[in-house]
């Protein structure tokens, strides 16, 4: 019998299947709630948007995990801590569903759901999965899931920010541009370098400033002054985060390990 490919192994990992099923199941009661509050059409669109975002996230992360396995050899399957990391991306699904539902008012039910999922996703869950993961051997799987969950949530949050958070279009630029990083790192085999560079204090500060701007802009209870403050902050946090993404990209392109490999190959 032919050996299964790394991509297929990643997608059929029991932990992966359980996490994917759990994320999709969590979207169902929310879609029912949206349907009850805003009509069946909005509920169906919410479910479709959330399902699509979660499916793309799971497939993309599975592809990166499979890529790591090709380079680093067999890696472990997913465990509960990885499930926690993936649960963070549930916020991305809810935000995508809210965008798809067509109910884009800040104080509509989908926007409330999105914001309530977003806050713990980018604070509590983001902060505790790292220390929990370090209690077992750190490896490529956890690193990939952590980075890609962050990016996926940030991407959808930024799109919500410019759609119903009244933020300028530039606020979504860094989150979109950031997707050049895994693609370039993937092609150059420098993904680990990407994770290391992202730990610098200025990169973290730019990320925190960006997410704080989004949280304030999207808060359903935010008044006119808070929203004006978020709009002003976006003109500072977005360029700062763009610089951080550019710096990470140059770091990946100038990865010394990869340069050594290229030199040896030449």
């Amino acid at each position: 019998m032919a050996a299964r490919s790394p991509s297929r192994r990643a997608l059929t990992d029991p932990g992966w299947l359980a996490a994917s099923a759990g994320l999709l199941a969590a979207a169902v009661p929310l879609a029912v709630g949206v349907a009850a509050g805003h009509g069946r059409r909005a509920g169906v669109r919410f479910a479709a948007g959330a399902t699509a975002a979660l499916a793309v996230q799971q497939l993309f992360a599975a592809g990166l995990v499979a890529h790591r396995r090709r380079r680093a050899g067999p890696l472990r399957g997913l465990d509960a801590v990885d499930g926690l990391t993936l649960a963070r991306s549930a916020a991305a699904g809810v935000i995508a569903g809210a965008l798809a539902s067509g109910e884009r008012r800040r104080r509509a039910l989908p926007a409330w759901m999105a914001w309530i999922c977003l806050l713990p996703s980018v604070t509590l869950l983001d902060w505790i999965d790292g220390p929990l993961a370090r209690r077992r051997a750190t490896d490529g799987v956890g690193m990939v899931l952590d980075l890609e969950s962050d990016s996926w949530v940030t991407l959808w949050t930024s799109l919500a920010g410019v759609t119903w958070g009244e933020l300028p279009g530039v606020a979504a630029g860094p989150a979109i541009a950031r997707y050049a990083l895994p693609i370039v790192a993937w092609r150059r085999g420098s993904y680990a370098r990407l994770a290391d560079a992202g730990r610098s204090w200025w990169s973290r500060a730019a990320g925190i400033a960006q997410m704080t701007t989004f949280i304030v802009a999207l808060a359903p209870f935010a008044g006119a002054r808070s929203r004006a403050l978020a709009r002003a902050a976006a003109f500072v946090s977005a360029p700062a985060q763009l610089l951080a993404v550019g710096s990470l990209l140059s770091g990946v392109l100038a990865d010394p390990e990869r340069a050594k490999q290229d030199a040896r190959a030449a």
Binding site: R104, R105, R106, R107, L119, P120, T123, L124, W127, I128, G130, P131, L132, W164, E166, I215, A219, F221, A222, G223, A224, S226, R227
Partner: protein
């Protein structure tokens, strides 16, 4: 025109302040949990 321009004053300033204090408390507690996990 912003999408919810007409409901700027729906949330009284006092309630908004209370909500932001609750958000800040949640963030601080979350960070304290992280620090506690880091120390173990």
């Amino acid at each position: 025109v912003p999408p919810d321009h007409d409901d700027d004053d729906v949330v009284p300033p006092v309630l908004e302040t209370v909500a932001w204090i609750a958000v800040l408390a949640f963030v601080l507690v979350s960070y304290a949990v992280r620090r506690r996990l880091d120390r173990r």
